[in-house]
Each structure stands twice: as C-alpha cells, then as structure tokens.
Subunit: 342 residues, 2 copies
DNA sequence: CACCTTATTGCAAACGGTTGCAATAAGGAA
DNA sequence: TTCCTTATTGCAACCGTTTGCAATAAGGTG
C-alpha cells in the first residue's frame, strides 16, 4: 500500500538535524543559516515533501475548509450556487465539504454535527423544507462558528443571509405582462403557507394594483408542478378564453401550462403570453422559449461565501449580521413577445 | 469567539482521573469499572462532549472522507452522479470533499494535490476535457491512494472505472427509430476525435447495418450544440423532405432540431421522428417531449463509490482493476410516438 | 583572557486523542 | 501472614507540525 508519505521527521533524520530546524528552514525563518536552508529546501523538493494537512489543522485548529449544507444537488439553482461558492472559495484557499440534506431535517442535523466535528472554519447553508426546529443552528452559533445562510434562511434568527427578492421578482414579471398589453392575468401560485409562494403571489397582486388593475382572487390557482397543471388542465382551459396572460410561480409550471394550451390550439404568445419564475435552463429549451425572471444562483453563492470568509477572517469583530437581498432579472423570450415568434 | 469545545483532557481534569481512563470509559473498554464508566459517560453526555475529528484523523491517518474531482457541477448528469455518490457514502459513514476542475487541467492537478494533502481515504474522479497528461494521476496511484474513475476515464491506465456504453446506447436509439418504421435516418454527430462522438456515431452505423440498411455518410452532420443547429438550419431543412428520423448525439441538439423543423411547419413525430441522447431533464420539458437514451447518473455515482469503498476497506488485497459498464436505457416519449401526440 | 553578543540549532511541549505497558491496590489462596 | 491474581487506573509515547525557550559555539570587545 501507501509508501508512507515523507514527513519532516524523516527529513530531519536523513539530514541529521532536528525537526524544528527543518520546519523553520522550509518556511524561510530568519534564524536558520543560508546553508542549512538551501540544503533542506532542495532535499525537500527532491523527495516531493508535502506537509500533512491533518497535522497542520490540528495544530492551528484551522482547516481552511468551508462546510456546505444544501437541500439538493440535482437542481439547477442549487448547483449554480455551489459553483459560485466553489470559485470564490478556491481562489481564497479554502476547500469545500458538501453535505446534501435531501430536504430531510434529521439529516440536516447530522450534517451540521459532522461539519462541527470536522472543525470546518465556517458553514454555508440553506434550510431543508422539513426543518421545523433550529436547535442545531443555535448549537453551531453557540460554538461561535461563522455561519451564513443562502436562499432559505430562518427569519427569526439574526444571522448573515443572502436571499432573493421574490416579491420584487414577481412584480417585475407581472409588470412586464402588463407593459405588453395584458389585461387579464392568471397566476399559477405556489403553496401560500410557504414564504416563496406567498411573496410571489403578493408581488403579482402589488403589480396589478400599482397599475390600477383590479386584483381578482379567482385568477389565482394553486398549481406549482407540471403534474398539477395536467390535473388542473380543465380549469385552465376554461379560463383560457377570458385571459391574455399567465404568470406562473416557477418555470416548469409555466412550461406545462404552455404545453396544455398549445395542444388545444391556443397560440403562445399570440393568444396568451406566459412568463415563469426562474428555476433553470428549462426556459431556453421550452417551445416557445419562455420569458422568465432569472435567479442568479452563481451570484448568490459568491455573495454568501464572501460574507462567510469575512466572518472567518475578521475574527471577533462582531459586526451586526447583514442580510443581502438579490434582485432577480427579467429575461424576455418568445413566450411574451407578440411580434417576433412567427 | 468559540467557547472552546470540551476535550477529553478537560473531562479528565474535572473528574480527577486520567485522560486515558476517560477515553476508554467512553468506548466501553472492559478494563474500566462500571462506576467510572457511568460517571464518565453521563458527564460527557451532559457537557455534549464530541471527539475532535482532526485529532482522530491524525492518529489513525484515516479521515473517513472521500475526495471527488468533477469537471462541472452545474450539469444535470454530473450533479446526479454526485447525488448518487453522496447517498452511499453517507450511509457508509464517509464525508465527501468536492472539487470542481472546471474542465481545467491545471486546476485538476491542484485539486488532486489538495485531496492528497488532506489525506482523503480515496478519490473519485472524472477527467477534465483539457487533461492531456496523467502525471498527477500516477502520482496518486504511486501513493497507493484508492482511486475510481467515472464517466471520463483514461483508457491507457489500468484502474477501476465506471463508464457508460455509448455505442450500445446509440444502437438502442437507432434501433428504436427503425422499429417504428423510419427508413432514412439523419445523425447529428459530435466531434469525431472524441470518444463520445465516435462511439455514438458508430452505434448508429451498427444499428443500420444490423437491420440491413445502408449506411450513408451524407446522413451524418457534425452538429452537437443548439447554436450549431441554428447555424446549419438550412442544410437540415433541405434534407427534411427525404428523411423520416433524426438521431442526435445529445438532447439539446435534438431539441434545437425540433424547434427548427417545427418553425418550418414540419410536424414531429408525424413527418420526422426525433430521438436524443440523455443529458438531463430537458427531454421532458421539450415540446413535444423528447424520446431519448437516459444515462443513469445516480447509478453511476453509486457504483463508483461502492468500488471505491471496497478498495479502501479491503486493504492491500490488490485485486485486478475492474471496469463497470452501464447500459443506458431507452425513454420513449412523444417525439417518436406517431400515434399518441394529437 | 574573561565576558558579552549574536547566530544557529535543538529540546520539549502543545494540538486531542489512543493504546501498550507498568503500577497500584484489593482480594483470595496457602 | 505472605504471596499471587486480578481488576482498575495512570504514564508516556505517538500521529506530524509549530514555536517559545534554552543551549551551544563562534566572534567581538575591553
């Protein structure tokens, strides 16, 4: 098996000097004589000496590792966040240790413990959907561990967080539909007991009233997955004749709605304009390509890790926790572009 | 800052006994008297003692961590592989340390070194597209580090690997087109200097000849991105009248082709059936939903990590490196289903 | 020549845990 | 009472590196 990685002690023994001298020589300590230094350094290079990170970590109680707890990896938004984190972290000399909670509260707890046990220098996390208590978070905080939340952050805790402005995003989307002339807009909404569903519906309502249009609860259907669209196809088709725009709580829902409408010979965007809310590259693939509000996953990851690194390196200076709010951007494609498609 | 995690030494001091006794009591060593044991154990529980993983790792030179080097995270296939790895690894008590090479050779080298420095117990990796030398791989091997490749494996090295049978996948796809009656099938091919492009084209050719059909090089167009499809739209449309099937080297190419055809009033699958090769969930989103050959990313991750854990735990028993070949599966949707769409 | 600097090196402790072996004390047998 | 077991505990070394401090030797000064 492993031909035993060479250590400082090995070098010391071979060169007939002490380990401390080797250690100092390797890092150019002024106390060491030039002769010894070059001797040690050239020898170390020759045998490909590499310090044992485990020993270093233990000594300094500093691992140069950032722990990440993420609900899901097979998800365009979250994997984008990971990519954003990774880039900045790598450039700053940190490794990342990633745990996937699988939207499972118990798993999230054990992940947090594992990262704590491994003495990561800080943690980035996004809460799982099933997390209903925050004891494990408070535990991390009690240990003084730097911690930054992204996307799904606990409202009641005063910690650093990076989130997106769902309300603004929904307003932007709805405004866009209005600006191209839509008068009756249907909203396919998410569950109203979740922040995300609530805020996006509220943004829709705000945009209407801001434009002097009436908010009609009958134009809000709870429907946020492709399957749910198929299940509610009848209801949607019934309304199709009276509406001229649809704002869906996410892209897959919007795409499913387009599929249903098109199969029934309703043209998009000619008869009805459709806009989604960005959960990935699906929008570009869709037919017609879907206008949507794009969540900048990469940017979110970058901002979060920057905050974390600041916490880690600016030790003790307990500044007030900051909340960074990212505003999503409108991407106009053919599903709301009445002039360009044909 | 951190209120200093409690250690075995702390417990020993407080309880007035030696650290070794505490250590043994905590792990139910038979030498320790029942009284001492319960005293130590209950006290440890009370103060939430947790062993310092760093110290353990150093002592045992075993980190219970698996290193992963992956070209890209924002990619459905690779993130699926990660998810597969994570599940098995977690159940087996391993953490994962993930590095993203970003398809960059230099970065891949530095990632490999970082994982080596951190003494991970083994490495799972998929080569970056720009990797042209294998010194860093051989370096890992020289250190006796367990190593398993997935998807993109070096052909010339005798190591464990888990790969996909591209040739078989392409054959399956082409066979399917033939089985539903296609007589003239166009192949939108990948670059022929890459394994993946070569094998998929070969599978297409094999399927034709196996069915007594003539292989015509004019029916192979090098074209493997959406943009390339748009650029070659003219050529594709010219051929559209003589062909009745398209096999594309990947899903996005197939989807772009469908878009181009549909805009020119060519019906799918009525006039032309289209099948892709699985790079993700796009196929379901497409209109019409795209038939494709699905690569099982999760399964690949699981198989790879199983091989790796076997290597790690079955120390020294240097069995022959094994290559596991996964066969992708056919997913039939409406783009090749002449009866169901309308 | 004795004494003080200064340059260079090594010793030993520390990070937090594990473990072989010695040490102690208590109990039993003769 | 004396010796031998046996049960229980502690000492010390170790994993690989860093670092405060002491130690040594060489050189300079009076």
């Amino acid at each position: 098996m492993a031909p035993h990685q060479i250590t400082i002690k090995d070098i010391a023994k071979i060169l007939g000097i002490s380990a401390s001298t080797v250690s100092r020589a390797l890092k150019d300590h002024p106390d060491i004589s030039p002769k010894t230094k070059t001797m040690v350094q050239t020898f170390a290079k020759k045998v490909h000496y590499r310090p044992n990170a485990l020993a270093l970590n233990l000594r300094r109680s500093k691992t140069n590792t950032i722990g990440i707890i993420i609900p899901e990896m097979v998800h365009h938004f979250f994997s984008s966040v990971l990519a954003g984190i990774d880039k900045i972290a790598y450039d700053a000399g940190y490794n990342v240790m990633i745990c996937q909670s699988n939207e499972n509260y118990e798993r999230e707890i054990s992940d947090a413990q594992a990262l704590l046990d491994n003495r990561v220098d800080g943690i980035l996390m996004s809460l799982s959907k099933t997390t209903h208590k925050l004891d494990h978070i408070n535990n991390l905080l009690d240990h003084g561990l730097p911690l930054v939340f992204f996307d799904r952050a606990p409202e009641e805790l005063s910690v650093d967080k990076v989130i997106i402005d769902d309300l603004m995003g929904a307003k932007i989307a709805t405004h866009h539909l209005i600006s191209i002339g839509c008068k009756k807009i249907l909203h396919l909404a998410g569950p109203q007991h979740l922040q995300i569903g609530k805020r996006r519906r509220q943004g829709y309502e705000d945009a209407l009233t801001e434009n002097g249009m009436e908010y009609n609860p009958n134009y809000v259907i709870k429907c946020d997955t492709m399957d749910e669209v198929y299940a509610n196809a009848g209801q949607i088709l019934e309304m199709a004749s009276e509406i001229d725009g649809i704002f869906a709580v996410n892209d897959s829902t919007a795409i499913a709605a387009m599929q249903v409408l098109m199969k029934n010979d309703i043209k998009i965007p000619d008869h009805i304009s459709v806009i989604g809310f960005g959960d990935g590259p699906n929008a570009k693939i869709a037919y017609p390509p879907l206008s949507t509000v794009e969540q900048k996953g990469i940017e979110m990851g970058q901002e979060a890790v920057k905050l974390l690194i600041k916490q880690i390196e600016e030790n003790e200076v307990t500044t007030e926790p900051s909340t960074k709010v990212l505003t999503p951007v409108l991407r106009i494609r053919e599903s709301t572009n009445k002039s360009r498609l044909y």
